[in-house]
Symmetry: C2
Subunit: 209 residues, 2 copies
DNA sequence: TAGATTGTTAATCGATTAACAATC
DNA sequence: TAGATTGTTAATCGATTAACAATC
């Protein structure tokens, strides 16, 4: 039974992938899997799989492998997706609206409560049943509704100020979609689409490795 | 003058960030910067900055630092964003449409030529002036227009087949937005939103490090 | 029990950081 | 020239992989 060690960024990034893959296996009615088979399927190394799971505790059984449903339950708990999370989105533009319409998050327990925008034409409308409110009301709303996660999808210039306001109002984390290096006192995940497409462009241009 | 060494994934991921940051400095009329100042501003290490740039060649000058506009030109060439790239999007749902409407890519030279969908109600419409065509025509279109990058934003089940078709038709890279572990023979960049929000959830739940 | 497979320690590999001679 | 700062080699740190004893 391994103890909980410090968990590297690399492991954190792999956990959702394990979760996805194991969910598929569970859906196929498979009950257990060995680190070796899992590694093969996910194009990882069996030692790495065992090390990863052992960051959190001994989930496996010698001679048997890992029970898929209990492993899934463990990962769900580790990722904290065994409970709901409330979000607000700052910026009701294309990205904000697309996120709001994407059913997948709701299913995983990430509940978008409201959007905020500065554009008077947008304020007062709804996106997929969620209200678009005035950006000026955001902090009050976050406080009143005890919102956990702030999603940043606004104009570049406004972004740092919005993030500051979210943190002030008590969000526990920020999900940033704007190509800006945010500075915040809470955990932040960046989805930098333009960085991603540039990286792809690089890989295409330098394809020989 | 450093030679071109093998470039790690970590460096590739940092290049677009350098590019963004240096662009801002250039916009402020700043002409040169030392690795130490740049590292400070970007919360990196000065040695790392120099190592990173030296993967590609000696861009700096002892006693002076780096000239920002020539450094930008170098990075533009390295990332291959000094020339245009053509894209098609498979899937005219929320994500596909949002990407099509996002002006930023067009400005960087990533030209979305068409979208493809299986839904007869979508086929024949336009998104931001770009045609939505029948998915059945995709491969032919890619061949005829010599499309470089295939964007995958379709239903989970269809995704691997679509990617295979894209590669068959000659795309040089795939930009995947669907939470699926694609297998492809060309460079692939994944934007896994659900993995990202799960990672954020983890960090919030385990905030003590 | 014998076989399988984990948990865990040790070895390797690679990336980050430090140091400093080269040089503008 | 003296000062600044790079390019580059060496040292450190951390992550991945290998090995194997523990154990189901």
């Amino acid at each position: 039974m391994g103890a909980s060690k410090r968990v590297s960024e690399a492991v954190i990034k792999r956990l959702p992938r394990y979760y996805r893959h194991l969910s598929i296996l569970e859906g196929q009615g498979i009950e257990r899997i060995s680190s070796e088979k899992l590694a093969l399927q996910m194009r990882l190394n069996a030692s790495q799989v065992r090390q990863d799971f052992n960051c959190f505790g001994g989930f496996g059984q010698q001679g048997y492998g890992y029970n898929i449903s209990s492993l899934l339950a463990e990962i769900r708990a580790i990722l904290a997706i065994d409970r709901p999370h409330s979000l607000v989105i700052a910026g009701a533009g294309n990205i904000g609206r697309a996120l709001t319409c994407f059913a997948g998050f709701e299913e995983m327990g990430f509940r978008i409560e409201a959007l905020f925008d500065v554009d008077p034409a947008a304020v007062g409308t709804e996106v997929n049943g969620k209200p678009v409110l005035d950006m000026a009301e955001m902090e009050e709303y976050i406080r009143a509704h005890n919102i956990e996660i702030g999603v940043v999808a606004a104009r570049r210039k406004a972004v740092q100020g919005i993030a500051d306001g979210m943190v002030r109002a008590g969000v526990r984390g920020i999900w940033n979609f704007v190509p800006v290096d945010l500075v915040a006192d809470v955990p932040t995940e960046n989805v930098h689409l333009s960085d991603s497409i540039c990286a792809l462009s690089y890989k295409i241009a330098h394809e020989e490795d």
